[in-house]
Amino acid sequence: MRVQDARIKVALIGCGAVARLYYMPALRVLEAAGLVEVVALLDPEASHAALLREAFPQARTLRQLSELPRGAFDLAIVASPHSLHAMQTIYLLEAGASVLCEKPMATLAEDARAMMRAAAVGRGLLAIGLVRRFFPATRMIRHVLEARALGEITSFEFSEGSATFDWPAASRDYFSKREAQGGVLMDIGAHALDLLQWWLGKSEIVDYADDAMGGIEANCLIRCRLDCGATGALRFSRDCALANRYTVHGTRGWLSWQAGQVDRFDLGFADSSQVIQAGFRKQAASNFEQSFLSQLRNVIAALRGTEELLVPAAEGIAGVELIENCYRQRSLMALPWLDDREFARGRELNGGKSAGAADR
């Protein structure tokens, strides 16, 4: 779909924390630049949409998708709870709009494939919101790895977590199993598994464990194997302060990215104890906000036909498949502070494959 109008008409679907913190300021800037016009704000909780309406007084506030007039918008941004991503995206694509769907693209691979099919037959584009791909650091890491600067990849460790959860979720649904469909894996894991495959190629889940005991996981541990045979571990937490490092080791050296760091990473070589702190000169996206804007500008440019989408749906689906494989292989993590009876009950509630006593 080509949108030639001066301003792309945008409907924001879901007015929770991500909409308030990131989409609202970004869309205001893009509106001021004459690139977009926010025409609709949709959220079942009227107060959430009303908050954003202060920034976009011309926009209509709506509570459900059926209230959206067809043809009144070019791009819908789906920033609603995970469990609604697929249904809403398909509805919007079938209505002829283009969609930027926040990560995770869907909670099930089958749903993600249905979204792809809807995009293939519809007039609109389907982009996935994976903002970390727009960080100069992550892009450069991809180049470094593509150039095989580290030699053969031998192992990797990704960890990300904080002892205090600081995302200002607007609704309890964020922690509801029914609405969120997952915890830290669906959240941080969606970013990390995407980067893993984007940087290092196809990978398979060897083992997955988390600490969900009837609810959603606050901690998880994934062991993966790359096509090249290298293995690694990914550990995420909403409960513990982890190293927050994504490290890749090769036969010639290593690189390490501080999770969330937009414009630098560390690089070292096997026979040297020195560490290079790689930064960038004059980057367009020198901070998170600029990276977020880059993502939206790429979608706008793609709608105008002047750029390729950098994260089309086909790129988002791989991460969804990995997450689904993780949950399929679920077991209860070793929780060594629980007594035997508590652990046994926790394992029942986890609902995953049974773990032996050695797993404690």
Binding site: F165, A212, G215, S237, R238, L338, R345
Partner: protein, 371 residues
């Protein structure tokens, strides 16, 4: 499992373990109450009827406590939070028809280094050098006064140094060891009055239903007499350190410096009222002015020396704690609650080290495993 108990402060270190033990152990139908949506991150591991209510919001609390037989007040926080939360909690419990409130106070109402012979009957002071202690004393007195005129029974628990997974005492020490800033005072010979978190939860469970304890306070501790060296040695060993090599630092005189006095004033009611009149920028400036400024490098021509590790300095609180020479008695808890420690100190240390490994600390065992 018919006893429905509301847990205030459910997202914290002690609250998390209460939820695990009560829910997984089938001890009670626990309703976790968290102060904010984001505090649900850890609680949402379980499919429970969790609620969100700020402990200073009586109306929200009233809704959250409805239908609960008992309430556990396990809210941690600064002195202002300690003071501001007790009245709304008691009143909401009364409105909700709660039978008993179990309040987690602290052994530090007796000071960090209580005099030999101290027990629950020892007089409490609100003129202690640590503001936290004064706030806890104030909270206990306020609750007893509310109980004197209200129907909700009150039980006060005074745990010592609560240890275990996520305990700030052990996590901070592990982090300081790794950062090279850990220290001893008197080689860690002071008594730590430790209480493994599972033992505290056991006492809480007993306190919810034990008869004839209304209005009473209970000191709680592990069965063993544990020194600070005993507490920290296993952690140091697990991380590959020889704890004997830690530097000994000097005690801090038990008087507050300007910064601590300012902080105490700021957390008091009049202090907060006055602070609210001062622009934020000015307050930040005052705080910055009270923060010591590191000396500037003298010359760029100096021969690089090995990174200097300045001797750490003890906080007033740690300085007092390390001086403790009295194992607080738990005889009353044994007699009236039927309390006994259900996890030994050694087993508690083992489980805590297991948690440190879980939380990504580089224990020797984990390093060996990843080799």
């Amino acid at each position: 499992m018919t006893h429905r108990v509301a847990l205030l402060g459910a997202g914290g270190f002690i609250g998390s373990r209460i939820v695990e033990i009560f829910h997984l152990g089938g001890l009670a139908d626990v309703r976790p109450v968290a102060r904010s949506i984001r505090a649900l991150a850890r609680l949402s591991r379980f499919d429970l009827d969790w609620r969100v209510a700020d402990a200073r919001d009586e109306e929200a609390l009233c809704t959250a406590l409805a239908g609960c037989e008992t309430v556990i007040h396990a809210i941690s926080g600064d002195p202002a939070t300690i003071r501001d939360s007790v009245t709304p909690v008691y009143r909401a419990a009364r409105e909700a028809g709660v039978r008993r409130l179990v309040y987690l106070s602290s052994a530090s109402v007796h000071g960090q280094a209580p005099l030999p012979g101290t027990d629950e009957e020892s007089p409490l002071s609100r003129r202690q050098p640590i503001e936290y202690n004064n706030a806890k004393v104030w909270a206990e007195r306020r609750l007893l006064s509310l109980r004197a005129h209200g129907p909700v029974e009150l039980v006060i628990l005074r745990p010592g140094i609560v240890t275990g997974p996520r305990s700030i005492w052990q996590t901070r020490f592990a982090a300081e060891l790794l950062a090279g800033t850990a220290y001893w005072l008197d080689d860690g010979r002071g008594i730590c009055n430790s209480l493994y978190v599972d033992n505290l939860v056991h006492a809480i469970h007993l306190a919810l239903t034990a008869p004839g304890i209304d209005g009473k306070a209970f000191l709680l501790g592990d069965a063993e007499t544990v020194t600070w060296a005993d507490l920290y040695r296993p952690i140091a060993q697990a991380l590959g350190f020889d704890s004997i090599q830690l530097p000994n630092v000097d005690h801090v005189p038990p008087r507050r410096n300007v910064r601590e006095l300012a902080s105490a004033f700021e957390s008091s009611r009049p202090g907060r009222a006055i602070a609210s009149l001062i622009p934020k920028r000015v307050r930040r400036g005052i705080r910055a002015a009270m923060t010591p400024v590191p000396p500037a490098d003298a010359t760029p021509w100096a021969i690089p020396a090995a990174p200097a590790s300045p001797l750490p300095s003890a906080t007033l609180e740690m300085s007092l704690l390390y001086r403790c020479a009295w194992k607080l008695p738990d005889a009353r808890a044994r007699q009236l609650l039927g309390y006994r420690s259900v996890v030994s100190f050694a087993e508690g240390s083992r489980r805590t080290i297991g948690w440190l490994e879980f939380a990504g600390f580089p224990t020797i065992q984990e390093k060996n495993r990843s080799r």
